[in-house]
């Protein structure tokens, strides 16, 4: 998988994921890409190291007078910290990488698809509302209507491939689109295409019908 990937995360996305400032839906796309891509995993390691170094360099804030004692008291009380851990899990056996399985509640067969017309299906994933994430199922050879973006859209290929005005995207590739890009992604003929798409703004469709359909599709 990892050697075929040609389209990677940008520095800005990796830095924001490392800093913990991305909307949850974008973090999901980043974590899923990294699960498939050793190069971006290594780059993320460098950004985490930079975060640690920046924290180490900065001027500290004044602590409460009893801060250390209070912390020792917490430790002695054995209060389990409520900090979320990376759940222990092995390499994924199913088709979906582990972070996506957590949101789907299972592998690809557990996805609750909804038809959105012309054979295209989608499933919206439960994330915080500052951005949305959905799985898209595009039949081989079919197109997603021509659309522009009000914000940023990340599209990660999980299966199959698509082509748009920019380039060709295969498994593991991620396209980072912003307001400058109007595109019509078309799935390759060979295989149905499954993507994870995350966006921080509603998509703008150009045709009349898609525009009417938009409120129902929630995309």
């Amino acid at each position: 998988m990892t050697d075929q990937i040609k389209h990677h995360l940008t520095d800005a996305l990796l830095m924001a994921y490392s800093a913990g400032t991305l909307p949850e839906a974008f973090s999901l796309a980043v974590a899923t890409h990294i699960s498939m891509c050793d190069e971006c995993r290594a780059r993320l390691g460098a950004f985490d190291t930079m975060g640690g170094a920046l924290m180490d360099e900065c001027k500290g804030a004044e602590l409460a007078a009893d801060s250390l004692e209070a912390t020792m008291a917490r430790i002695k009380a054995g209060n389990p910290a409520r900090i979320t851990d990376a759940p222990a899990r092995g390499k994924s056996k199913g088709m979906l990488p582990a972070p996506l399985r957590d949101y789907v509640g299972g592998d690809i067969d557990a996805v609750k698809w909804k038809n959105v017309g012309m054979g295209v299906k989608q499933a919206i994933l439960p994330t915080a509302r500052d951005a949305s994430a959905r799985l898209l199922y595009i039949p081989a050879g079919a197109a997603v209507p021509d659309h522009g973006h009000a914000g940023t859209e990340l599209t990660l290929v999980l299966q199959g491939a698509f082509r748009d005005e920019m380039d060709h995207f295969g498994p593991g590739d991620i396209e980072v689109a912003n307001e400058d890009l109007d595109h019509t992604p078309v799935a390759d003929i060979g295989e149905d295409c499954i993507c994870l798409a995350a966006t921080d703004a509603p998509l703008k469709f150009k045709g009349l019908i898609p525009r009417i359909a938009q409120p129902f599709l929630r995309i």
Partner: protein, 183 residues
């Protein structure tokens, strides 16, 4: 600190080992005095008020004690590890969101990390710290804001009055410089 950064990083690794192996409170106090104020500053710059930042800092430092056995010095410096704990606490408590984490790599059977790997990783982290402090002020401040200020590039543009393109290219320049320094 008069012993310089070279010694520091490996000292912190030793402190965490003493907590892990002997529940050593003196080692914990040393780490606490260095890192807790920095964790609190990071949380406050990310939008927490002083009392919430204090609460979360105590959580983060208690987590360090409880999870000392999970620290792998061949994969992270103490500062990096503590930063990731603080960042996750921030997302959880301040932003009230979940953080999707990448799938673990199959690392193979757990073995004691190799001393040479630990040394190399710790030295690399120190090297990066030095490279960051050597950045021109403008670039360092932008990178700091991106990390700590919870500001998007366009919010930085509003605050500084700089055009978005300038901010993006300064950040890119800073990253290029750091990559060059790490070669």
């Amino acid at each position: 600190m008069t012993n310089g950064r070279e010694k520091e990083n490996e000292d912190w690794v030793a402190c965490i080992a003493r907590i892990r192996d002997a529940q050593d409170q003196a080692a914990f106090a040393e780490l606490f005095h260095h890192f807790a104020p920095r964790v609190k500053a990071f949380l406050m710059r990310s939008g927490a008020d002083a009392s919430m930042a204090e609460e979360c800092t105590q959580d983060v430092m208690a987590t360090l004690w409880q999870k000392a056995h999970l620290f792998d010095p061949s994969r992270a410096s103490a500062a990096t590890w503590i930063f990731t704990i603080a960042r996750n606490r921030k997302i959880d408590a301040i932003r009230k969101q979940k953080r999707p984490e990448p799938e673990d790599l199959p690392w193979g059977p757990e073995s004691e990390p190799d001393q040479a790997d630990i040394l190399a990783l710790q030295q690399e982290s120190e090297h990066l710290g030095k490279a960051i402090s050597a950045l021109p002020d403008k670039q360092r401040i932008l990178i700091e804001q991106a990390y700590f200020g919870d500001l998007s590039h366009s919010e930085i543009a509003e605050q500084t009055g700089l055009p978005l393109g300038t901010i993006k290219s300064r950040i890119r320049l800073a990253l290029d410089r750091l990559r060059h320094a790490m070669k």
